[in-house]
Symmetry: C2
Subunit: 116 residues, 2 copies
């Protein structure tokens, strides 16, 4: 069940929502509904999201800044700005920042595994 009522135009600035930590990759939520979510992931050099899978939910990563080494279903590829990649449901996927600069990703997932 949707637990909130949306009456206003909901917008976020993906530049100001960025946050990094020397500790580990940071995730900030931008939007969340029962059907999907949008997050921003911020990875310092050397940080990663370890490969994992979501039963029945697809994920899309869009590279905003930097270069990520994406691993999806056993394949690995370096993707940079303007590139977008699909991690289909049930397939192992992860991303590492093997570069010397920060990596910023927009991440979309549906359906939202945190709901329902």
């Amino acid at each position: 069940m949707e637990s909130r009522t949306i009456n206003t135009l909901e917008t976020r600035n993906t530049k100001t929502e960025r946050r990094f930590s020397a500790e580990k990759m940071q995730k900030a939520n931008l939007f969340e509904t029962e059907r999907m979510f949008a997050d921003i992931y911020c990875l310092e050099p050397g940080q990663e999201q370890k490969p994992h899978a979501h039963v029945g939910s697809d994920k899309i990563y869009f590279v905003v800044e930097g270069t990520g080494r994406f691993q999806i279903g056993g394949e690995e590829r370096d993707l940079g700005p303007d590139q977008i990649v699909l991690a289909p449901a049930n397939l192992d996927h992860g991303v590492r920042n093997e570069s010397q600069t920060r990596l910023v990703l927009l991440v979309f997932m549906a359906p939202n595994p945190n709901k329902g």
Copy 2:
């Protein structure tokens, strides 16, 4: 039912997928599953996506380039690069390019109203 098998890492370059037409706003599909889709919308000055609603599907717009005048649920706002906006299911939403330059948007929708 999913009608295709995805065996490889699927990636698109959102720069090379752009296409504009003097006729009307252009949509190009980037990814499509039964759960969600990702499109790129390209609007010349003066072009628009007329307000409409999707029963049970949420849409998220991310502004890549230019400025769009978004109308969601009766509210109107101009959004530029790095801004992202939610058009929740069942609410009228649309976008017009009232600026003098091209507008490029990434659009994510879940669930995919073209499937299922």
